[in-house]
Symmetry: D2
Subunit: 357 residues, 4 copies
């Protein structure tokens, strides 16, 4: 009898509970079991590889992660350059700003009486509450800030850097926007018009008819130029949405102008959507390879899990295991204060794609 080595080579090692395990050691053991536990362990391993490589690491963030309590993890990841560029929904940046401004979200119930909440001016996000009056205050605060900017189109990258600066200067508090500002990490927000930050910008026009202009197409050019400049990239996606596609699109668009670009070398997504309805949020990383969004030989893993479980575990493991890798890596260096950003000291245009020879 011959053992069918082709398939049966790596035995499952049942997880043995043990006192004192830190997150990294829990994930180490999860890596030998099955299903999403194994995938979550693989996610840590692939993140390590990203940090060991020369890849520019994009982080996408959709879903109510800031309201839900993950904003300081993201701030930590930006501030310590576990990632190099954030692509976010507007809501996540807005809820971050809300807390950085000293306000809170509150633990609530998914079974709340929404009519009663509405009467009390309380907005619900599943099991989490916030004060609508404070939200209105934020909108006005954003509008008041936006109107002080030059009355010309800003990419979201430039605008959000300035917003982070203003937020840091007025609060001195840690958060996503302020950490990105301080670490000079670019943030793109392709769907800014679909968020309360967009609403704040729109209200700036009430004060000045030519205020609140965003050059969303400039963001496409700028993000693709980043990839053209540093064609080795990695994608980490939390929750899908517009950030997932925008990160992939940057790679596809860059390849149009530069053959050196060949799709992300590494990809990791933590999603709750599923592939079989055809939507982009749940689409598989295999499918992404057909589009050239991912390199054919990319290392990749998809974890089906709520980020409020997966990310605290992953981050707890990373803060233990990644520091030596962080110390050794040379991430892209950005300067973001001007209309034209620079990467590694070179200007990056937002009005014209760089064409590789």
């Amino acid at each position: 009898m011959t053992k069918p080595h082709r398939f049966l080579h790596t035995p499952i090692e049942p997880f043995v509970p043990e006192d004192g395990l830190t997150a990294d050691r829990i994930l180490e053991r999860m890596g030998r079991i099955s299903f999403q536990g194994r995938n979550l362990a693989t996610a840590l391993r692939i993140w390590h590889k990203m940090l060991e490589s020369d890849a520019t690491i994009f982080l996408g963030m959709a879903g109510a992660l800031s309201a839900g309590g993950l904003r300081l993890i993201v701030a930590h990841l930006l501030g310590n350059r576990y990632v190099d560029c954030l692509v976010s929904t507007g809501a996540n940046l807005y809820h971050d700003l809300h807390e950085t401004r000293g306000q809170r979200h509150y633990a609530g119930s998914p079974h709340a009486d929404d009519a009663a909440l509405a009467e009390q001016h309380i907005d619900r996000v599943y099991d989490t509450y916030a004060s609508e009056d404070e939200f209105i205050g934020n909108d006005n605060w954003i509008a008041d800030f936006a109107v002080t900017l030059e009355h010309r189109p800003y990419t979201t990258r430039e605008f959000l850097f300035q917003l982070g600066r203003h937020l840091w200067e007025t609060t001195g508090r840690d958060g996503i926007l302020t950490a990105a500002y301080r670490a000079q990490v670019p943030i793109f927000c392709p769907a800014i018009a679909d968020s309360s930050i967009g609403m704040g910008l729109s209200q700036a026009r009430q004060q000045a008819v030519d205020a609140g202009h965003i050059d969303i197409i400039g963001d496409i050019v700028e993000s693709a130029n980043l990839v053209i400049r540093r064609p080795s990239t990695a994608s980490i996606v939390l929750g899908g949405g517009t950030p997932k596609n925008f990160i992939n699109q940057a790679s596809v668009q860059a390849e149009f102008y530069s053959p050196a670009v060949g799709g992300h070398r590494y990809a990791l997504q933590i999603v709750t959507d599923v592939p079989h309805y055809g939507g982009a949020s749940g689409s598989s990383l295999e499918e992404a390879q057909s589009w050239g969004k991912l390199a054919a030989d990319s290392e990749k893993i998809s974890v089906q899990a709520d980020a409020t479980i997966a990310l605290p575990i992953l981050a707890s493991a990373l803060v233990r295991t990644a520091p030596p890798l962080l110390a050794r890596r040379t991430p892209p260096e950005f300067s973001l204060a001007a209309q034209l950003m620079t990467v590694d000291g070179q200007t990056v245009r937002h009005d014209r794609f760089e064409e590789a020879k």
Copy 2:
């Protein structure tokens, strides 16, 4: 013994299969059963109520519905004013344009070899294929068109109307963009930067450095002004995503400037996401009431189903039952050809919210 009438008043009527039932009669019977079947039947009933009321009906559309074969249903809904305004992802408009230009999507397999597809320049959306070379042709076609426009910011509403016109004039074919153009139905695309239409716009800059400008914040103002002008609204959402929130945001933003606005009177969503991860796509319509996105007494239904099953059934029922309602309704009349749109003959601004007295 007293019958507990409070709860046990409406018996489930088991569905009896019968030869010759059309979609409306199938839904009629589904309305007496349980779970999502009942909800789908309720969706038809609520759509009828929308058409019987004076509400302006917004349709949101996310997920790969155009590639997946639903674009001519949406075109029919726009062309015959089952709805009054479309909010879409860029991808759905792009895949519509792809087919209106005479190209096709193709039936494929979700288990395809994506490396082989990539080699053949074929892009996969779950079980559906398209030619990447044809997509590149579309991008160029959009870029070539965009560069012919005035070099000033366009709202997506204005740009997409012009794109629909150009598409109609060059193809004469039915589709979402062309039907909207012909019926003068506005389309908003808040996340246009996260799509191949955005990519086409960005490529216009390669031809003219100041081409391809989109005033995404203007869309916020314009859509809210529509609601201020006609405060009775209804929301139909397919798949969640940015369109879902953008439609709700228009209502919330409008209420900020006009107390007559009080949230959508009717709401219907067909989604596959779930509420318990906190994301907006899956969020419940009850939650939306806490925000004032929906009126406290709104009629609403959420159907958990793939739109490729639910919409063909609903549309087949509507084309049978809705024509008398359509004949009686007086929907908003738009003119969309200029930088400033009009509704019912009155100009709607995109650079300043109207303030109700």
Copy 3:
């Protein structure tokens, strides 16, 4: 330029809504679109093929389908031999019995106050209610019946046939149990102990200590012998659960004793669970091939949809299109009244597997 025929051969035909379409014609059009709509259309096509073949068709049924209003569809499928054998959860048979006894389920709300319902003795199944007092009446009715049977072990197949007979004789009403009795279609209920029918049986012991004996292992033998006798089989599964695996297990167990058995020739499942958590309900039909549950060349389709939407559509189409196929087929003929059932006139044992030469 050569057209890449290998992949791009079958264009998606956008669904065109049209007045007067019956379910079969809606599915015909859905067969040319994508995602679950296409899969539902394929399900009809494969069911047709099952009926055209000589396969014995097993139907599995899990989830609250009887309470939810689908029991008369299932009764119709059994009574007219669209299927040849039912494997069900106990709950579906119990809720069927509840209604056949003249009682009802009621339309309710998923947001009900469950404490208030509990006080009123109302049991909730998502959006559907039933009277707990009536349920207690059913349990007693089952116990009273069970105690009249011989005090020896009954397979669920034999017991459920006798239960169906008793139900028919006392009510004369249509339903799953009574239709199966009248059409002599066997029903297996592998998890009968996990249901109110099991509870009724257990209560029979209060009247006679040796009443209520079920020979659940006999069901395994009998069902496998059915497959050995007629090795061409097909599997239709609604909702997964124990019926899904029991139908597959019959095939696997049969193959152990007879090499002529080679897995189901056709398989169709309508499920809402997903594969990626490793559970059997959501497991893919591809996975089933590795086990030999399905033949390597089987025709198969998995539809991700709620059965309360999918089954009414499918059944409405079948009653229109299948009658000629039903007229031509020669399904297995069972007699079920005795401890030993027969198929096609030959006895089938429940205490010993038949061994093929």
Copy 4:
């Protein structure tokens, strides 16, 4: 301005990543965030309360958890009396037996070529493989054992205890069945007929026509009598399925005979199914209250997560935090070797419900 204390009392505390956090401290921080992360933290807190109370704790287990690497966690929970009674699917016990007999499951790929696997006699469970030939060996081993038992009906509780004993005596290895045997913890398997253990039992009849008899109805009586004897109960459910309902049914059935029973005092479920399709696996714990399965004032939490992520985290936290609680509790003491089990020294019948005065 008055603060709306009614709703906004408990601020979300963003998770701060920190080096060296063990699972209990990670969960402590997760308890202050939102969504499923918060729920998982609540699950730990409720498990603590179960251990502090006098409740008999039932653990239900469905899904491929043993094959997937969680069997030694479950063994640990049984052996150290974190729980008092296991209700399992047959597959989980079978895959446990497979490994306890010295065989393995193997890490595989969800994208495997199932035809190739079938040829190699390899069975796939999502991303996990096992040898079909070894499985056939297990079936025979079970059949050979079953035929040595008395030829009379066994409850699954009695049979599985004897199987655990035989397994321990022949292997001396840790696992679910052997740990339950050694700790005298009862195991019920209501759907044993739907599993390879059932298949092994059925094969015993090939050796002796009256072997392999299971008294599945006796399990209902015995489990309800356990609840009547000790009416304070708690339910922990992994994955739903038949174990979830069987545990609830025991409570409902017990209440029929004893008014002191009033539903579980505590309930915790970790599931991936959702409520809105009406199936029992995904049904909410609120719904369970309408049936009286849960006490109106029960403490309860539902976590939407894959058990391969959630259980290793929970178990790692429990082994650190629960030992003092375990030391203080006086769990029920069972003896299980005979046809009649005892609890706390008193016989428990399986052929008649105890009636409380």
